[in-house]
């Protein structure tokens, strides 16, 4: 009863949902520790920066390659079968999105030869340089341009199926592609002059502008489509506490979103955080600290999986403007991004938040403000907070209490042990290039 071919619609729905389901949990339980949204008080070797010994999640590699594989099948079918041509553009967008996550987390990774086991027989794919993954033909930026072209050239009548993000709206996919291009260009802006391209994207205005254009899908209130942390064991829920870093940032800004993202400490009613990476061989009273908010567990029907949003795009453009890469008013973009982000987190924007409070635009520390706002709104988003911290140094993350990495803050994720066992020859080269798979060797775009 096992089919040997499958309709694109069924596969594409899984590409979108399966990745979101798996990566949202991964991003929450592991990514949030590196971005210091939360701290873990036991089974926390990852929080102590022994990244190769994660104990809950902490293996984004498999999630990404499975998603890339099914997406590749959708892409191949769209090119081989005229009746499936509508999938080409969206599949290219997803490929770029997933590849970006992958290389941003790990650095050089198998890409051009990857996920082609069935078609090429290659089961030990070579590692590619991050520079090529971003810039070469068939890389992230090229695929995004091709995606836009494919969407524009599609003249068929067969609609896009399985699209849980945009319900088949190709225009929305084009906006997503352009927003993602903005994000990718900024990511590599330390290495390449990206101003002209950004300016033209900004000028065209064909990017995600409003909440209804967001590349998101809804989690359900209950299984099987609820956010995975809702069904995680209460024990796992109970070892995640608000981090000291988060306490400082929310308190410093007087940001009311704290009450959505966290629940106050049971013993004190305060939003108190604990330092990341404690040696778990110490007695603590968890109820003295704030825990994850009800939106992560009891009310996941209110939570979205976020591929890309209007608030993120605005804040990216705000940075571009702030850094003079595009001609625009950084403050205007910043204010718009923050307002959209409050709405995204279902919180009323306080009247003074953008006018007189500490979050009000201050050009002298514009970049810090922009990235901090992205950090807040991007909670749970697949290591994004940590990736942007590596690029910009914001917000200031705190040293962990009992580091297992000599007190140094990791700047890349190590390749999983499986690669060492199963793709040894290629791994060897990649490990050499990273000082023995060290977490302290920056990735290509990380130039400071």
């Amino acid at each position: 009863n096992a089919p040997s071919t499958v309709q694109n619609e069924l596969l594409f729905r899984q590409v979108l949902y399966g990745y979101g389901d798996a990566m949202s949990y991964e991003g929450f339980v592991a990514g949030n520790l590196l971005s210091q949204h939360f701290a873990m008080i036991d089974f926390n070797l990852l929080d102590r920066h022994a990244l190769s010994s994660p104990q809950e999640g902490g293996n984004p590699w498999d999630v990404l390659y499975v998603a890339l594989r099914d997406n590749e099948t959708v892409l191949q079918q769209s090119r081989n079968n005229p009746a499936a041509a509508v999938y080409e553009g969206p599949a290219l967008v997803m490929k770029a999105y997933q590849a970006m996550r992958l290389t941003d987390i790990f650095g050089d990774v198998p890409y051009f030869e990857a996920v082609s086991g069935r078609t090429t027989g290659i089961v030990t794919p070579a590692y590619d340089r991050q520079e090529d993954i971003y810039l070469a033909e068939g890389g992230i930026l090229d695929n995004l341009e091709s995606a836009v072209a494919a969407i524009e050239n599609y003249a068929g009548a067969i609609p896009l199926g399985g699209d849980i993000v945009f319900n088949g709206d190709l225009t929305a996919w084009r906006r997503f592609a352009n927003s993602l291009r903005i994000k990718a260009l900024l990511r590599i802006s330390g290495r390449r002059d990206v101003g002209a391209e950004l300016q033209s994207l900004y000028a065209a205005g064909d990017y995600i502008q409003s909440p209804e254009q967001n590349a998101t899908f809804d989690f359900a209130a209950g299984p099987p489509n609820s956010f995975a942390f809702a069904t995680a064991r209460v024990g796992i829920f109970n070892v995640f506490l608000m981090s000291l870093t988060a306490e400082g940032i929310f308190a410093g800004l007087g940001d009311p979103r704290v009450s959505v993202l966290y629940r106050p400490a049971a013993n004190t009613g305060e939003y108190r955080g604990i330092i990341n990476g404690i040696d778990a061989a110490t007695a603590i009273v968890p109820d003295d600290y704030a825990r994850p908010g009800t939106i992560w567990r009891e009310r996941t029907g209110d939570l979205d999986f976020n591929y890309m949003t209007a608030w993120e795009t605005r804040l990216l453009l705000a940075e571009a403007a702030y850094r003079g890469l595009i001609e625009a008013d950084a403050r205007e973009l910043y204010d718009a991004g923050v307002a959209l982000a409050f709405a995204y987190w279902q919180t009323e924007l306080p009247d003074d938040y953008l006018t007189s409070g500490p979050a009000a635009w201050d050009a002298s520390r514009g970049l810090e403000q922009i990235i901090t706002q992205k950090w807040i709104a991007g909670i749970g988003d697949a290591y994004e907070g940590w990736i942007e911290w590596r690029r910009t140094g914001y917000p200031a993350l705190l040293p962990v209490a009992a580091s297992l990495n000599d007190g140094r803050y990791p700047v890349r994720f190590p390749y999983p042990a499986d690669e060492q066992a199963l793709n040894f020859q290629n791994y060897r080269g990649a490990a050499e290039a990273t000082d023995g798979n060290s977490v302290n060797v920056p990735v290509w775009w990380d130039v400071d």
């Binding site: 309709q7 596969l11 399966g18 099914d70 198998p110 086991g117 089961v123 064991r233 109970n238 793709n423």
Partner: protein, 1050 residues
């Protein structure tokens, strides 16, 4: 002429009682000639599987003598064994190694799992019992592991293959959802009471005629049948054993729950001090400490007293402190005494035109694990009928119903009670109070426990969250044999093995993994039908005899496995899919396979001392076809074997009573499972009720070729000193090429497994069976038998382009880093265990940080090998008049095992190894590098770390190196003391109506000598859908059984 119900007996032993060494053996048509030394004499005729007969012989005895033997017990002289296609042949004519186990060796001390009865009985056979108590699977491997993927021998009952699958329910390997449950292996359904004999065909040669699945050897089971002589025989056997847990972990009892020396229970959720998790690094026990605890009494406003852990009832009232005292026997006392009762009643009879045997068996085992049981009813019928002179009809039918109210979950996680009891139970925990496992007034919705974060009350788990089993199994055959000519017969036969298994998983509200309850149905269907024909032609030409067999077989197999999961329930306590509160998640699978075969066998005999067998078989397997082509589906494999009875031709020294030399070479091809030649897509969890599909994670191989195993074998069977001493020695080699492997591959390829042809493994080994009759007098007899085997399987070649690959792994949850890998490199051995550890200098000292901590070294390295260097079974039998004592010892030497119990309970501070906790901390013996990485300067570490920190890192589950044991053991496997009275002794007494009466004291799994203090060293783990040998994964204690058995023959 010696005959039996099956016709002439070839190879029966005939000798004078006073001259056992001067005997002879019947030829291919059952005749013999023996020169009698002196009259009068007593002639003895033995044939394995038949009752020996004695005849007084004097000068007046009419000749020729016609002897008819009845099926029954035998002597261990030159044996007759059941070989391929159920043909009974004398061992002396066989050019390959076959070893037979008789019914009494199987049924004296019956194990619930039939396979366990073979342990220690056969050289080259390794049996490993499963880890979840009565009803577990047992793994059996013949001649060691030589295949990368499948080492499971074929089981055949009365000529019909039966499945020995272990099919695990679907799990997601995560810390949520259902855990693995072992519902047993297929061959456990064989009922020892109905078994006449078991022949183990060890090499490919013995097995070539059974086809591809025989590459790993064949276990040929012959069931009992009725006699030839008129009259009704009734026998009744009954055994009752008391089972106790064997080898429980050894705990420390000085420190109770907590971390950093502190603990206070508030809600078991993190509201107290370290009460969210249950390490035992808390305050000292038994020194007068007073601590709020889950069982401290809390008085409600209305005066009712509840327990501290009744949190939902008292709503967070202050919990008073109570004495913090040790519970050294809490885990021991948790277990009950189990009982296993087996009753069998058999009626048999027969006459000139046919025979029958009907048997009914009832097995009830209540485990020492509370709430766990197994019930099995077996009905067996065996019928022979001769409606016409030349027509033989034969049939058997076995119906087995197996039920269990609960099969306990295995693996790491809250559904396995060892996750609580072994790994994570604060050493002060009083388990007795947990028997009342609901919070008062919240029965059915909220359990009462010592902790509510990761753990469930173990009584709640076992008594409420059950994994039920109900399996119907039917196997049997119908056959007709017609003698076309005196020397030519045609047999047509069809047999079926059918099983339908219903598994029901109940999860109550407040379960750790299912806060809103849960329910799953897993239905497993298996059906295999084999239909065959066989032409049998025999002719003699002077000194030569020729026997030709030609046949064909069609195998059709259907396997279905459907599981429906309801991950939340609407109404507590109603376990129906219709009560699901969220969409039901369905995982289903069905596979069909067909193999057509033609085969032939030619046997040549020269006089009575030289025998040659040639065989050939061609298979056509549907599993090797792909959607585009059926080119690779056909494969042929031949064999040749020769047996030379040197003692009949040559003038050997007086001491040598018998000498047989044998040699053979054989090939056997092997196909694969369905769906390995084309990629398939599988349904995943729907989104908003709309379906989603993903590609299977296994990369298919369209051009799969059959794998080829070539074996050679040399052997000798020597009997010395009038058969008092026997040595059967076999040397074998085996080479498997083009192995069909499901190899783990790098996920970056898009897949995590790949089907490939490739790799060559060669193994060599020896088997020796030493039989000793040490003392034989009128009253006393002492015999011993030693079954020794040792083999080694080396990887000669890997698939092109690979220099290292991983055969299997075993993980904690789905964590890549908490993984034991089974990796091979060229020159490596099958079973090599790889893992990680902490950094060490070249001379093996730990390199520590400046703070005195271990430093993780995540480079994978070989840390051991799972396979034993040798195994030795030793059976001793003493008989004094009517009293008989049998002892079976089982020795496994060498090999390693990674222990999760050690890792987890070590980290959690439960085991006695962690009792040493000096105030000043522990200075880890090791060095600190004061130089650079390239030019290290090592100085001795002088910095202490806390004992808690030390144990937590030393045993850390991310690193296997410190959690490894030598897996060697010596086990007292079976003990039996029997008092037996036969007919003559009973005739005058009150039991005069009985043919025989026996009463036995029996024991199984009585003791083990091993370096492993915490669990039975005989172990395997279940990971995903398969068995992983070399890993202990939160095992349940195995059973130590004592009891009584009674046998009555009317």
């Amino acid at each position: 002429t010696v005959t039996s119900v099956d016709g002439p007996l070839t190879g029966a032993t005939v000798y004078e009682a006073d001259h056992p060494g001067k005997g002879t053996v019947t030829d291919s048509i059952g005749t013999f000639t023996l020169l009698i030394q002196d009259f009068p004499s007593i002639l003895k005729i033995n044939y394995l599987g038949y009752t020996s007969r004695s005849f007084p012989i004097d000068a007046t005895t009419p000749l020729p003598l016609d002897v008819h033997l009845e099926a029954g017990i035998t002597l261990d002289d030159v044996e007759v064994v059941v070989t391929a296609l159920g043909v009974r042949r004398s061992n002396s004519t066989l050019g390959y190694s076959v070893q037979e186990v008789q019914s009494e060796e199987l049924t004296d001390v019956q194990a619930v799992n039939f396979v366990d009865n073979l342990s220690g009985q056969v050289a080259g056979l390794r049996v490993t019992a499963g880890a979840t108590g009565v009803g577990s699977s047992s793994q059996v491997v013949i001649r060691g592991e030589t295949s990368f993927t499948n080492n499971n021998p074929l089981f055949v009952v009365d000529g019909i293959p039966i499945n020995n699958n272990t099919i695990i329910n679907r799990t997601n390997e995560e810390a949520a959802g259902f855990q693995e449950v072992d519902f047993g292996n297929g061959a456990m359904d064989v009922n020892p009471a109905d078994v006449q004999s078991v022949s183990v065909l060890k090499g490919a040669s013995a097995a070539a005629l059974y086809g591809t699945r025989a590459a790993n050897g064949v276990i040929v089971i012959t069931t009992k049948r009725g006699g030839k002589q008129p009259g009704l025989g009734i026998s009744f056997n009954s055994s009752l054993t008391l089972d106790r847990p064997f080898q429980l972990p050894r705990f420390q009892n000085e420190f109770g729950q907590g971390q950093g020396g502190e603990f206070a229970f508030v809600d078991g959720l993190g509201g107290g001090i370290s009460d969210n998790i249950t390490y035992s690094y808390g305050p000292r026990l038994d020194v007068g400490n007073q601590v709020p605890q889950f069982d401290s009494p809390v008085t409600l406003a209305d005066g009712t007293v509840v327990r501290g852990g009744d949190v939902a009832v008292h709503g967070g009232l202050p919990i008073p402190s109570t004495p913090f005292v040790s519970q050294p026997d809490n885990v021991r006392d948790f277990y009950d005494s189990g009982t296993t009762a087996i009753h069998n009643l058999a009626i048999s009879g027969g006459g000139a035109d046919g025979d029958f045997r009907l048997s009914v068996t009832d097995l009830r085992s209540d485990s020492y694990i509370p709430g766990v049981n197994l019930k099995r009813k077996t009905l067996a019928g065996r019928f022979g009928f001769r409606p016409a002179e030349r027509l033989h009809l034969d049939a058997s039918l076995n119906y087995i119903n197996t039920t269990s109210d609960n099969r306990p979950a295995g693996g790491y996680g809250s559904e396995n009670i060892n996750y609580d009891l072994t790994a994570w139970l604060g050493r002060q925990t009083d388990l007795e109070i947990l028997r009342d496992y609901w919070q008062p007034g919240l029965e059915g919705t909220q359990q009462y426990s010592y902790n509510y974060t990761f753990f469930d009350n173990p009584y709640f788990t076992l008594l409420e969250n059950r994994n039920g089993l109900d399996r119907d199994r039917l196997f049997g055959f119908l056959s007709a044999r017609y003698e076309l000519l005196d020397n030519l017969s045609l047999q047509v036969r069809s047999g079926m093995d059918y099983s339908n298994e219903r598994r029901r998983f109940l999860r109550n509200f407040s379960s750790n993994r299912f806060p809103q309850g849960g329910y799953a149905e897993n239905d497993v269907l298996f059906r295999e039908i084999n239909t065959d024909f066989l032409l049998d032609y025999t002719q003699s030409f002077g000194d030569f005899t020729l026997n030709l067999l030609a046949g064909g077989n069609r195998l059709t197999q259907l396997a279905e496995n459907n599981q429906s999961n309801a991950l939340t329930l609407a109404q507590p306590g109603i376990f129906r899919l219709s009560n699901a509160a969220s969409p039901v998640v369905i995982v289903d699978q069905a596979a069909e396979k067909r193999i057509n075969s033609l085969y032939g066998l030619a046997r040549f005999g020269f006089r009575d001392y030289l025998f040659l067998d040639l065989t050939g078989r061609n298979d056509w397997s549907s599993a090797l076809a792909n959607p585009a082509s059926a080119d690779n589906t056909s494969f042929f494999y031949p064999s040749a074997s020769v047996s030379f009875l040197a003692s009949r031709l040559l003038d050997l020294p007086e001491a040598v009573s018998y000498l047989q030399l044998r040699a053979n070479v054989a090939q056997v091809g092997n196909d694969t499972d369905p769906f390995r030649t084309s990629s398939t897509f599988v349904a995943r969890s729907p989104y908003n009720g709309q379906p989603t599909f993903t590609e299977q994670s296994v990369l298919a191989q369209p051009n799969l070729k059959p794998e080829q195993t070539t074996t050679t074998e040399l052997g000798a069977d020597i009997r010395l000193l009038e058969y008092r001493l026997g040595l059967d020695f076999t040397y074998f080699t085996q080479r498997t090429e083009n192995q069909i492997l499901s190899l783990p591959i790098a996920q970056s390829s898009g897949y995590n497994q790949q089907i490939v042809n490739g790799g060559t493994v060669s193994s060599r080994g020896v088997e020796a069976i030493l039989s000793l009759t040490l003392v034989v007098t009128e009253d006393f007899r002492w015999t011993s038998r030693f079954n020794f085997s040792s083999s080694r399987a080396v990887v000669d070649e890997l698939p092109a382009g690979t220099d290292r690959f991983t055969l299997a792994y075993s993980r904690v949850y789905n964590s890549v880093n908490q993984t034991v890998y089974f990796i091979v490199e060229p020159g490596g051995e099958i079973g090599d265990i790889w893992g990680t550890g902490y950094r060490k200098t070249d001379d093996g000292r730990f390199i520590l940080t400046n703070q005195g901590q271990f430093i993780a070294d995540n480079t994978l390295r070989k840390i051991g090998n799972a396979n034993p260097d040798f195994i030795l079974g030793a059976a001793n039998s003493f008989r004094f008049r009517n009293l008989e004592l049998n002892l079976l010892l089982d020795w496994r030497q060498g090999g390693q095992i990674v222990s999760r119990s050690l890792s987890l309970a070590g980290v959690a501070g439960q085991l006695e190894e962690t009792a040493y906790r000096p105030e000043a901390g522990i200075v880890v013996p090791g060095v600190v590098n004061t130089g650079t990485d390239s030019e290290p300067v090592y100085v001795d570490n002088t910095t202490a770390i806390s004992a808690e920190s030390y144990y937590r890192s030393y045993y850390d589950r991310n690193h296997e190196e410190n959690n490894l044991y030598d897996a060697s053991y010596l086990k007292l496997r079976e003990l039996r003391l029997t008092y037996r009275l036969d007919r003559s002794a009973l005739a005058d007494g009150p039991l005069g109506g009985f043919q025989g009466v026996s009463v036995s004291l029996i024991g199984r799994n009585l003791y083990a000598w091993s370096e492993i203090p915490h669990f039975d060293p005989e172990q395997f783990a279940i990971q995903g859908q398969g068995i992983v040998f070399g890993v202990e994964d939160m095992t349940y204690p195995s059973a130590r059984s004592f009891g009584l058995s009674l046998g009555l023959d009317f």
